[in-house]
Amino acid sequence: MAKHHISATLNGNAVEYLCETQQTLLEVLRDELHLTGTKEGCGTGDCGACSVTVDARLVCSCLVLAVEAQGKSIQTIEGMAAGEHLHPLQRKFLEHAALQCGVCTPGILIAARSLLERNPDPTEEEVRFWLAGNLCRCTGYNKIVDAVLDAAREMRGN
Amino acid sequence: MADAPARVVLISSLCGHYTGGAKEFEIEAQTLYDVIRELDARYPGLGEHLEDETSVAIDGEIHEVGYYHQLRPGCEIFFIPKIEGG
């Protein structure tokens, strides 16, 4: 069948790919573009492991068709660090041991960055509600919330 | 020299299968190997069952069943169910 030829921006770089209508952005990121940092936990938008941003809007890539990304700017976990310099959130997750198995971590980092872009000084409750769409079964969320609040503090410069 | 024998208890509910109900024994032994061999001599097949299906508590300390365990005179040995964790 005729596939769609999509041109988009991925982590700041121009990218082109072919996809079928029913293929999700998650499927194309992982299987066609080999960016496997974005995880599939449920495929139904209930776990947040596949979180990415499309034109700076936080979404589940399992609920976006790859064909919808034409002309859009996609950010995945692979684009979060600046070269060898980790994003403050990435660093704080390591310092606070905010990951155990780590499979939910990329999605949570993307979601947390999206929160801090809108709200540089969130309360614990705001962090917990913003991250409610990102399931973590290992940590009980404690250290994740700690790490996000600490990263926010550092990014505010105090 | 005759050391105090080890007190050996089979709590595995299967052991009745082999021993016709007997559960407690006094066995002269320096190592767990001696205990297992002695029990297998009395009840053929029991030795392999103990090796494959049980853990052992020696004076309360739980170990995998192993021939090499040294026994103190008069120690308490319980063959207990294997524990499978998560």
């Binding site: 029913q22 499927e27 299987d31 960016l35 496997t36 995880k39 599939e40 936990g41 139904t44 209930d46 776990c47 692979e78 979060m80 660090a81 980790l86 990435q90 997750f93 390591l94 310092e95 041991a97 155990q100 198995c101 780590g102 499979v103 971590t105 990329p106 614990e124 917990r128 509600f129 991250l131 409610a132 399931l135 973590c136 079964r137 290992c138 940590t139 009980g140 969320y141 250290k143 | 208890v9 709590i11 509910s13 299967l14 299906e53 049980t54 508590a57 004076d59 309360g60 300390e61 739980i62 170990h63 995998e64 192993g66 308490e76 207990i80 169910p81 524990i83 499978e84 964790g85 998560g86």
Partner: protein, 767 residues
């Protein structure tokens, strides 16, 4: 997050107890770490599995011809592609490996035993083609009556899953088959005399729902098997050595012909100590001649992988007026799922284990029914019996008007306390966790209307067992530590810490890795809270062999007797063995780095291996305090505060130990309040997804306060006991006891969801 060390340190530790960044951290925050579904190979096919729509049916025939004819389909398999396994007799005590059962669970043969049971599989050039091929497979089913509930499955007229299954553990054996696979019984003292001597007796019935481990990563693997009879697997599991053994056995291969690469694992909690997709991908790869990847969907994970058992339980406890427990009786009926092997034996052993009770009877039944086969889940069995026992303990304390912590303390087991399974307790630790909560200001803090506070305790056998480690000293004096233990939550970091401590070098000079099945010796699963204990012992032993070798090299460099060199603070030092090993100061101490530089001229690479079958694991105890607020109009329960005090022996990396405590408690809160399987009348699962199978989300929870009580285990070089599991054991009862304290209603059925709480509120029955 305070750590409370009960026993004073034997010696000062430099690295153990610090909180460095884990070696595998950067790849996991940048998306570079590769999990089960993240591997691909050239020419790779996609595998997919056809699953039963019925809860119980006989398979009359399977027609795969249309699927095989579909363009892009490279292989189609059914159970006929796997060799039959001989039925192995295994004792009723064990959650045993029975390959006759395992091969049938991986691919149904005569019958499908639950909705989602695998019946056939395909490998095709794309996911879409594979999915289309499944729709072309025609299975002729004879639908049979099914049974879901454990009590219903035990009824004499219940539909039988196995027409010839005779209950084991009963002498003489029953003459009729049933769904009861085994009966176990533990006895201590004289139960009847015990109850006869009691001033008060409380008896209660309980039910718990099966709950899933809920790991975020669905099962996934990549297989490359060739016609030459060899194969490779990239698989996310809790033990790549057992994946190798099981897969080889199910395919009729030699263990040595299968190589398993340990992918990073996205959570397991016990549920990835067994296999589902690996032998299927392997068989498809072997048949098609291509690499094959299989990823389970979340729906498949819920329908076809193992939750822990649901249960029906009765507990009776007899006490004297002064609070001394004189008798305890437990009946624990566990759902095994479609094949025998629930953790009921653990439940019977752990239930009363925290207490010093002279007369105990603990009876368990392992019962099959038409739902997925149960798998291990965090302290398998113990949280279930603890819910019943600790709820009854709370009711007893209320009955005799005694503080629930002091009541437990008065009956707490200690070294020398006899257990229902025979041997005496050999370790302390329980009383210290109770005292930690008694000393906590929260315990006396005032509560508002509709709020309540509950406590509960738990016991778990931390495991030991087989582990291997290799330590390589690199040319520049850095060190690589390789083990066979999958890293599920920071174990690379704890291995590196223990190695650095033993070698006397800095943490960042050590790299810890997980080696594949061909590169290190057999190592049992990452489970049973055993890795830091057992694999840690292997690492320390290998490091000690290395320091011995380093001393030998130093002696050669100094041209002195081997016995005149000792290892201290990361250096070989010259001593006089004839002068009580006093340091001589004749030679400058030689650092590991300095000796590594001379390795060639002193004999070549410095490497040591250690293989252990670790014994002497000390059990874990935990006591927990929960505060809830109940909405009296909706039955909704909000957890306001939670404190977990657990004896961890010693925390090697405290942050990851705290994480284990917090994670276990939150899983327990989900188990207590919302998690359950909902089936329709046809035995089909209605909530096979994260939307309606409600695991806790961040906004449901408070911070979980941890108290790491450290009563070191003398059998481990650093006192480790194990931290991963016992934290979940008390949680459901702690929540139930808090709810009872808030509203005067005793919830005895899990989950304690709002409709149940509201019904309890509306009923007159006071708890």
């Amino acid at each position: 997050m305070d750590a409370k060390t009960i026993a004073p340190d034997q010696k000062a530790l430099k690295v153990v107890g610090t909180r460095p960044v884990r070696p595998d951290g950067a790849p996991k925050v940048t998306g570079l770490a590769r999990y089960g579904a993240d591997f691909s190979l050239p020419g790779m096919l996609w595998g997919d599995i056809l699953r039963s729509p019925h809860a119980h049916a006989r398979i009359r025939s399977i027609d795969t011809s249309k699927a095989r004819a579909l363009p892009g389909v490279k292989a189609v398999i059914t159970a006929a592609d796997f060799p039959e396994q001989k039925y192995e007799f295994v004792g009723p005590e064990r959650v045993a490996i029975n390959y006759w059962h395992m091969t049938r669970n991986v691919m149904a043969r005569e019958k499908v035993l639950y909705e989602g049971h695998a019946v056939a599989a395909v490998a095709a050039v794309s996911r879409a083609v594979a999915a289309a091929a499944l729709r072309l497979i025609a299975v002729d089913y004879e639908v049979l009556p099914h049974v879901i509930d454990v009590d219903a499955a035990m009824a004499p007229d219940a539909p039988l899953l196995f027409e010839d299954m005779i209950t084991r553990g009963i002498e003489p054996a029953p003459d009729k088959p049933s769904n009861i696979s085994k009966r176990v019984e533990l006895n201590l003292g004289d139960i009847e005399a015990g109850f006869a001597a009691a001033d008060e007796i409380v008896e209660m019935n309980f039910k718990t729902a099966p709950v899933h481990q809920g790991y975020i990563e669905p099962h996934a693997c990549l297989a490359r098997f060739d016609s030459g009879g060899q194969g490779e697997l990239w698989s996310a599991s809790q033990g790549h050595f057992v994946v190798r053994a099981y897969t080889a056995q199910l395919l009729g291969m030699n263990i040595g012909d299968v190589l398993v690469h340990p992918a990073e694992i996205g959570g397991g909690f016990g549920g990835k100590t067994v296999i589902y997709v690996e032998p299927v991908a392997a068989a498809l790869s072997r048949k098609s001649g291509h690499p094959v990847k299989i990823m389970m969907s979340r729906e498949d994970v819920f329908k076809a992988t193992g939750p822990t058992s649901g249960s029906s339980m009765t507990v009776r406890i007899g006490v004297k007026k002064d609070g001394k427990i004189v008798a305890a009786d437990g009946l624990f009926k566990f759902q095994a799922g479609a094949f025998p092997g629930s953790p009921v034996m653990n439940a019977t052993m752990c239930g009363f284990a925290p207490y010093n009770i002279a007369n105990v009877r603990s009876v368990g039944y392992d019962v099959v029914s038409n739902r997925p086969k149960s798998a291990a889940y965090r302290a398998p069995g113990s949280p279930i019996s603890a819910f019943a026992v600790e709820s009854t303990m709370d009711a007893v304390a209320v009955r005799i008007g005694m503080d629930p912590l002091k009541f437990r303390l008065a009956n707490a087991s200690r070294t020398g306390t006899p257990t229902a399974w025979g041997p005496k307790h050999a370790h302390e630790g329980y009383a210290e966790t109770l005292q930690a909560l008694l000393d906590h200001p929260a315990y006396q803090a005032p509560l508002a209307k509709n709020q309540g506070r509950g406590v509960a305790s738990g016991f778990w056998f931390n495991n030991g067992g087989e582990s291997c480690a290799t330590v390589h000293v690199n040319e520049d004096g850095t060190v690589v530590v390789a083990t066979g233990s999958m890293d599920i939550g920071g174990s690379r970091a704890s291995m590196a810490i223990m190695a650095a401590e033993t070698l006397g070098i800095a943490y960042d000079r050590v790299r810890a890795i997980v080696a594949d099945t061909a590169s290190i010796g057999y190592t049992h699963v990452t489970g049973g809270s055993r890795v830091t204990f057992a694999t840690g012992m292997a690492v320390v032993e290998a490091c000690r062999k290395v320091t011995a070798e380093l001393c030998a090299r130093a002696a050669m460099i100094w041209k002195v007797d081997r016995e005149d060199a000792v290892w201290e603070d990361g250096c070989a030092r010259h001593v006089d063995k004839n002068d009580k090993g006093k340091s001589t100061g004749k030679f400058e101490p030689l650092s590991l780095k300095a000796i590594a530089a001379k390795r060639a001229v002193t004999g070549g690479p410095i490497v040591a291996e250690a293989a252990v079958n670790a014994g002497g694991a000390a059990p874990g105890f935990a006591s927990e305090l929960c505060e809830v607020e109940v909405d009296p109009e909706t039955g909704s329960v909000k957890v306001l505060r939670f404190i977990v005090a657990q004896d961890v022996g010693r925390a090697i990396h405290p942050s990851y130990v705290e994480g284990q405590l917090q994670g276990g408690v939150v899983q327990g809160i989900g188990w207590a309040l919302n998690e359950e399987y909902i089936y329709d009348d046809a035995g089909r699962l209605l909530n096979a997804g994260f939307l309606d199978y409600r695991i806790p989300v961040a906004s449901d929870l408070p911070m979980i306060e941890t108290i790491m009580v450290e009563v070191p285990n003398p059998n481990h070089p650093f006192g480790v006991k194990g931290a991963g599991e016992v934290n979940i054991v008390p949680t459901m009862a702690a929540v139930a006891n808090a709810i009872n304290h808030a509203i005067g209603r005793r919830l005895t059925e899990l989950p304690m969801s709002p409709p149940k709480v509201l019904a309890a509120l509306d009923s007159g029955a006071k708890g």
